[in-house]
Symmetry: C2
């Protein structure tokens, strides 16, 4: 069983990594890039039967800083 | 138009961030975690009509280190 977790900065939080990507792509001649944001992508291999609530707790307690970050969980 | 890009380490490449997550979750009492891998998630806002080939080139030239990383692109 797998969990795919995306952790992204909330809107309005400054994203220096994203800005760096945006500027670098512009400098390299890619004109079409209007904005870039960078987040984290975490894949967990879980024992069968692990609940979504447990994964949610992992996100709140360790994986995301909920003051400035949002997270989303996909289980499969 | 948006591009969602996932950059993940290739299999067999050591992933210290993933290992740190795995151990931290174990120490916190989450028993069900068998493995963790961490990658990057990048969202680009693109001008309409930007081709997938252009985004692929951005990945190869800047966003991913193709020696050790894989990337996948979703356009929408």
């Amino acid at each position: 069983m797998k969990a795919r977790i995306h952790v992204t900065l909330k809107n309005g939080v400054l994203d220096p990594q994203g800005k760096a990507i945006e500027h670098a792509l512009g400098n390299m001649g890619f004109d079409g890039v209007e904005a870039a944001r960078q987040g984290k992508y975490i894949e967990l291999d879980l024992a069968a039967g692990t609940s979504k609530e447990a994964v949610d707790e992992m996100c709140r307690k360790l994986l995301a800083n909920t003051v400035i970050e949002n997270y989303s969980i996909e289980l499969e």
